[in-house]
């Protein structure tokens, strides 16, 4: 156990970087972003944590009592001594304080502390849900006791259909007493939802998740951001499907700019693309968040017109499963890294990719399970269906919620050094899975592994399964396209799809996004007997 005696003195490490981010969220001041220059870990401290950190900065060598006095005198805030000790221990656990042992806390210890913290948050959430939410209160008078995060498996799974059908009973009674908002999903999975969020829930998830990636955190903390997404998504989240003026597209006190969008990024008009260029030159975002299939249109335009934009530090690809082809082109054109994030309108941001290609789950916002068809956890290296538990979504709680996504489990320690729970990558949506000729499942990501390994010459593409053994790859050509690419693509896909597969490859100018405006790398089309055994088994268990 770490020493928490009253006389212990606490000193901040000298090799930490501090970024004031209080302006980002005026409603929740103060905020301080701390960056550990040794491990490149980022910590966003809020409210009392931030005050305690500032007191330590002021006081230098402090006891907990000194910190309490400084908080009262300098910031006019009375903070309980025990609470200060807990926060200081947390700082210590995260390696922010000088210690006798100058080596930063070991990965396993940080992992242990994160797990303990997450269990505390999870227990609080489950207690709240079973005490206050009618849907759960009717099931059990007593909240289930959780000894570990894994005990979450004793709770029922929650399907989208359950949320739709029981929405009134899934709401926190009198939730309107708080600042709140209703969110509607775009229905990409074919199952739309409406949920209720308290305060700035989505914003909090974005902050806590983006800060797990140092490059993105730095860009995010700079405060200047732009978003390019589908007009449908914009309709439910950000702005309506209409061409708005620059000023009307600014959000968050002018820090976030939404770029005008339309439904067909393959055929964005030159004037529209030049408007994007002008917007980005004017706003100069450090972080660009996008549907990569939409940003690709702009990237190709920039490449063709040989234009360079002011430096963007990082791009986050979200809202849809991006292709590695698009990731590569966009990264080359914008000269910055592209990181994938995972999230959804109904539950917020969950995870972000690190420099080593692994997805890190935000430990303060979500617990992510990966389940097999029987509902049991899959092993590392296996693909499972995502079940999410939101830790701070209190007004429409989502416990073990099935968003309809698949991901690759990977519990190995990540080379980036971060201690959060990780998974390998998102594999795709239930509705986007296709089958091999033997009936087994192929994920969009597995298809992308094959297509993206082909020589350059493809931009957008989609693989449609038209029958048990019939597949059609449609693609939009890029510079460097060679006629042999079609044969190469067919030859490369055959081993993935299995014996007897018939693959046709067709160049096209029209790949149609779904009704939400998002692109799918794969889909089953046509009227033939399709199987979705995985989905049905898991649904029956919920």
């Amino acid at each position: 156990m770490a020493d928490s005696s009253p006389d212990r003195t606490w000193i901040l490490r000298t090799d930490l970087a501090f970024v004031e981010v209080s302006g980002l969220n005026p409603a929740k001041e103060p905020h301080v972003l701390v960056r550990d220059l040794r491990t490149f870990q980022q910590f966003l401290l809020e409210d009392e944590e931030a005050l305690i950190l500032r007191s330590l900065q002021l006081g230098g060598q402090c006891t907990a009592d000194t910190v309490r006095t400084l908080c009262a005198r300098t910031f006019d805030r009375q903070i309980d001594l025990d609470e200060i000790r807990v926060v200081l221990l947390r700082f210590d656990a995260f390696g922010l304080l000088q210690r006798e042992d100058p080596v930063a806390m070991q990965w396993t210890e940080r992992r242990r502390i994160l797990a303990a913290q997450q269990l505390r948050d999870l227990s609080r959430t489950v207690r709240h849900v079973y005490q206050n939410i009618p849907f759960y209160r009717m099931r059990s008078q007593e909240p289930p006791s959780l000894e570990s995060v894994e005990d979450l498996a004793s709770l029922p799974l929650l399907r989208k259909a359950d949320v739709r059908r029981h929405l009134p009973d899934l709401l926190l009674p009198e939730a309107d007493a708080y600042r709140s908002s209703w969110m509607s999903t775009s229905g990409t999975s074919g199952e739309r939802l409406q949920v209720h969020h308290l305060g700035q829930y989505l914003r909090d998830c974005v902050e806590k998740t983006l800060l797990l990636n140092p490059t993105v955190a730095r860009a995010f903390a700079s405060g200047s951001q732009a978003v390019l997404t589908t007009p449908v998504c914009s309709g439910t989240e950000c702005h309506r499907d209409m061409q708005l003026s620059y000023d009307d597209r600014l959000r968050w006190g002018g820090q976030l700019l939404i770029l005008n969008s339309s439904m067909d990024p393959i055929h964005f008009r030159a004037e529209q693309l030049e408007e994007h260029v002008a917007d980005l030159r004017r706003h100069q975002p450090r972080l660009l968040t996008c549907n990569l299939s939409y940003l690709l249109g702009l990237a190709l335009h920039l490449r063709k017109t040989k234009q360079r934009l002011p430096r963007i530090e990082a791009i986050t690809a979200t809202y849809e499963l991006p292709s590695k082809i698009q990731k590569r082109i966009v990264s080359e054109v914008f000269e910055c890294p592209v990181y994938e994030t995972y999230g959804g309108t109904e539950f917020g941001y969950v995870a972000i990719e690190c420099d080593h290609g692994r997805m890190h789950v935000s430990p303060r916002t979500h617990v992510l399970e990966l389940l097999d068809a029987s509902g049991a956890p899959v092993g590392s290296g296996e693909v499972g269906q995502v079940a999410l538990t939101a830790l701070s979504m209190l007004s429409t709680p989502l416990l073990r919620y099935l968003p309809g996504d698949f991901a690759l489990a990977d519990s190995r320690r990540c080379e980036c050094g971060s201690a959060e729970h990780t998974f390998g990558r998102i594999e795709g949506k239930t509705t986007d899975l296709i089958q091999r000729t033997d009936g087994s499942m192929v994920t969009p990501r597995q298809v992308d592994d094959v297509v993206s390994a082909l020589p350059p010459g493809i931009t957008w593409y989609a693989l449609h399964q038209q029958g048990e053994q019939q597949y059609r790859l449609r693609f939009v050509r890029d510079e460097g396209f060679r006629e042999a690419l079609a044969d190469d693509a067919r030859d490369a896909l055959l081993p993935l799809l299995g014996p007897g597969a018939q693959v046709t490859v067709q160049e096209t100018e029209a790949i149609r996004p779904g009704s939400s405006g998002k692109f799918s790398l794969c889909s089953q089309v046509g009227n033939w007997p399709k199987q979705s055994a995985f989905q049905s088994q898991l649904s029956e268990r919920s």
């Binding site: 739709r164 009674p173 009198e174 939730a175 509607s184």
Partner: protein, 406 residues
Amino acid sequence: MTDFLAHVREHFPVLARQVVGRSIVYFDNAATTLKPDRVMDTVVRYYRDNTANIHRGKHLLSEEVSEEFENVRTKLAEFLNCAPAEVIFVSGATHGIHLVANGLSLTPGDNVVGTVLEHHSNILPWAARGEFRAAQLTEAGLPDIEDAARRIDERTRLLTVTACSNVTGIHVPLEPWVRLARAHDIPILVDAAQAVGHRRTDVRALDCDFLVLSSHKMCGPTGAGVLYGKRERLEALSVDLLGGGTVSVVESDFTYKLRELPWRLEAGTPDIAAVLGMGAAVDYLDELGFEAIGSQLAKLRRAMLRELDALDGFRSLHPSTELEAACIFSLVDTTGTFAPDFVSRFLSDTYGIMTRGGHHCAHPLHQYLDANGSLRSSLYFYNTEEEVGHLGRALRAVSSMRGSGR
């Protein structure tokens, strides 16, 4: 459930569809009504057994379908009480209004006087060609005919009025509007899209010059409708949509001679299956009888008004019971908590009730009524009082989600 309902509900297979474990409640009839089996069968039969173009061949199939097509014209003429040549098949009411707007050859400075109740389809064709002047509403919610009279001047080319508002549901007494048109010697066009499926329409008795309707709002297929016009009014329209079927001859110098009514106004191959389906819909409504339909709708209106009376936090745009109205009820959330789209999705996905949220192609009316959109429930004769009760419970759940009732 009454015998009448037990009888008619069986004709609409979509009513058996289950959403969230319940049979759906279809309350979006002002957008489009459901289609009975016989209408769908008629459409399918045309494609399956009798595919041919009309009026263009002498082979058996073409002869058969041409005759059936023209029989529908006669049927519609009987339905509206006019001559077959006065029935122009169009794609819907919007198309019909455009035929008149084009045919009147409006020039800048001309105006058309209408009402603020109108659907965009009865505003934009006029506003795009001249000036559209909208009479305001009386306190009761009827269009103010005196205001309309004040707006008529020497450049007024047409008076137009909806027979039934697609937002408030009010039935507009049309006779005074026809008299106003006669007094100023201008033609009058009635937009009857919402009205014809709800009550008997007699264009001779009404003495209007033009009237438009859409098949899909009266149990028929989409893609068909009627422009009715008095023969002399139709003949006076300029024809700028020309093509196969509209002319009797094209000379070597490309001059041409227009055919007689109605064909001169029906360019190109029509949606034959939809027209045949519209005929089946008219047969169906005639068999049910407008008296029985009206009686059922009156019952539903009373039930709906009882539910709305018991509802907190919503303002109804429906007129008072002293006025005649269709079963169209638009609600505005007075607390500003929920957008109409949100409530519509909630009713659909949680209660299986299909309603509509938005402005219902009536932005000017919503602005006039100080409403940023509304939630519209529109009922038809196959709906039931039980379904109205289900909607009432669902709307009370919405109220409770504001936190007021839990």
